[in-house]
Symmetry: C2
Amino acid sequence: MRTLLLPLAFFSISAFAENKPNYDEQFLEKVTTLRDHALTDNLAYDITESLTTEVGPRLGGSENDAKAVAWGEAKFKALGFDRVTLEPATFQRWVRGEETAEITAPYPQPLAITALGKSIPTPKEGITGEVVHFATLADLEAADPALVKGKITFISNRMSRQKDGSGYGKAVGARGTAAQVTASKGGIGTVIRSIGTDSDRLPHTGAMKHDHDVATVPAGALSNPDADLLINMLKRGKPVTLKYTLGGYFGDEYTSHNVIGDIIGTERPDEYIIIGCHLDSWDLGTGAIDDASGCGITMATAKLIKKHIGPLKRTIRVILWANEEYGLAGAKAYHEAHKHELDKHILGGESDFGAGTIYALGTRVDEKAMPLVDAVMALLKPLGIEYANNQSSSAPDLIPLRAAGMAVFGLKQDGTDYFDYHHTANDTLDKVDPKKLAQNVAAWVVVTALAANTNQDFGFGLSDKK
Amino acid sequence: MRTLLLPLAFFSISAFAENKPNYDEQFLEKVTTLRDHALTDNLAYDITESLTTEVGPRLGGSENDAKAVAWGEAKFKALGFDRVTLEPATFQRWVRGEETAEITAPYPQPLAITALGKSIPTPKEGITGEVVHFATLADLEAADPALVKGKITFISNRMSRQKDGSGYGKAVGARGTAAQVTASKGGIGTVIRSIGTDSDRLPHTGAMKHDHDVATVPAGALSNPDADLLINMLKRGKPVTLKYTLGGYFGDEYTSHNVIGDIIGTERPDEYIIIGCHLDSWDLGTGAIDDASGCGITMATAKLIKKHIGPLKRTIRVILWANEEYGLAGAKAYHEAHKHELDKHILGGESDFGAGTIYALGTRVDEKAMPLVDAVMALLKPLGIEYANNQSSSAPDLIPLRAAGMAVFGLKQDGTDYFDYHHTANDTLDKVDPKKLAQNVAAWVVVTALAANTNQDFGFGLSDKK
């Protein structure tokens, strides 16, 4: 799906006949006033608080998945959205089980572990084996299978802290494929250092690669302090034996839903500005920064626009995506269900990087639409937001639509602390600063309102040209 | 024991006949050189790493208690201490069990809980009840029993962050007596907000008051984010029902040991400068800042003095105290066993406040001994250490000896972050900065060497005069 190419005909040159923005002054003043009002508005925080308090953990396919869908539907209605729709998204669910780990020799100690999402389970009594240590995934990949056979591999690479979160992409490969690589060399299990920047005794879960027809092993993440402890024990040169139990397993098929709230456009109701968040979360925390904050930001954005400016020319569509975390199930289902009108998806963005201050706007639009981006930037700059570049990838749930050619934008948040809490029990409401959240809403209001209130286009079919 | 008064005759005026320090220049130069060397010496960190890696959690009375004692004995011998002694300390052990908590209505969510040390257990199936919320212990104490009867009390007061840790004393009363106060009003259980300054999903344990003949209830601490969540749920005005299970219970009698390492004095071998740490730890972490660091600091101090200066006039006695955490068992046993020679305990200090930089020296010595303190301060000031006052209380394990009249000192550590980790699973080696630990050793070397290498006294029997 990610490599889908659309016929060039989808790309309409005529949309750029006039590419100088034609907003009237009164509208721009209203947007400016709302932007400034949003900086002290609490709605995004209240929505975030509501989802984390009244639902909490909401792993795709869990009992709380359905509660989250019901919450989203009720919240959209309570906020006065014009149309609320549930669209099914079906996937095989993965269910977490009991999780324990201990070093049994030479110095017995309990360790904090969590299963990687989509891991197969260990036998009920756990697995026990000698640990073989690799600094990186590449080292494991290069290892002689004789070193790995019958052992538990341990990858200890630590991700680096960066404002833009770029340390994540460099480290997360170990989470993805350590299990399959270990199995291919005859290993019996794998544990990785958590993909996180903290030093808390709370391991980071997250999806791993799983193919039902490829050999794999039960895979867990150790908290950073536990990975340090294991390294210190290994340094002594004696064999270290690890025992762990992971109960997670694949269950039956489950149908969740994308929850869609529309503020219907006055002139072009069938053209959509797509914003939103993912509604599911990992199950260890309450999913506050990942991604209740994104729901708060984008639901508040649409609501405030409707309340303070009124409906605009195009439909503002807020999508609370289903099961982003282990399959992009909602993203795929939406793409499939809306295949006949993909070119009506004018511009899309998703808020899915926590609750930090926004410092930059990235886009991926046709060059001819840059005057529109300039108009947006004129209103974003007073918020301390710079323009990044025109190669933005937006966020995961927009991958299928972007691949299909939809123009996207990304409001880049300061992610310096994001990976301290990401996918851990520590992802809780106290990590969300209401003021920073409000700054996000101010920025989303600007982009969303300007994109929705023009007849001009951002280009479609860009994937053809890359 | 804490109110023991000794006859005035124990207090020897003659010891102050000459109260101007009589250190020779060569000795002071050696101390200065060692102080500066200690700033880059790794021994304290290595000892801390060894105890946390090779033993780890070591709750009094647990299997690891005995391992820690064996570790201490072996480590003293390996470091070349002149005499290593084990002295028994017997207590009724408390054993942690399974711990779970969940809000069952109106919005079911799991919570992170841990039993307070010495709590009674819940029934195996847990207890379930409506939560009644009090901001402080005082509010609970003042409450009408009708409000509490049949309910689970919740005290939500949050401790404040202070360099000197003074927020702890103000908040910890809730941990001590919430259970007994709740029981006295007919409540069925109590949960408190963790006594800690962090926002991590890791609850803080710690001892509560328990008297076998006073009614009590099962008592747990919720992590700070969970206390926040519970408050947010209560704000909605609907009854909130909590279910929790705490398996901790009192077991049989257990005999642990104080582990004592002496560097025997050349001129006054039966006079002791007492330094040390507590060897036990709570069981949730590896007891790195509480109190392996203190063991590292004080064991390294004595070892470095012996190695670089040689034995001094008095005996330097390093005591690794048994079961400080829930009973001061080692402190009481030592006081009892050494009743006949308490006045030979010239000066005492304990390192039990983590691994932060030392910023001040406090003492509790006879005023006539202040010239000795001045001599110490002359060597401490270059380390950034100021003099605090002469009302120091030192640390918990010295309470019986101090009450008996022993002069004490306290090298005050920056505790700004200490209560982020204290008594949690997060008390691990990564929280210890080797450089700060080395600064501690430098300071302890100064105080210990100067106190051990004089014939002069610090006063004994001070408790009579207060």
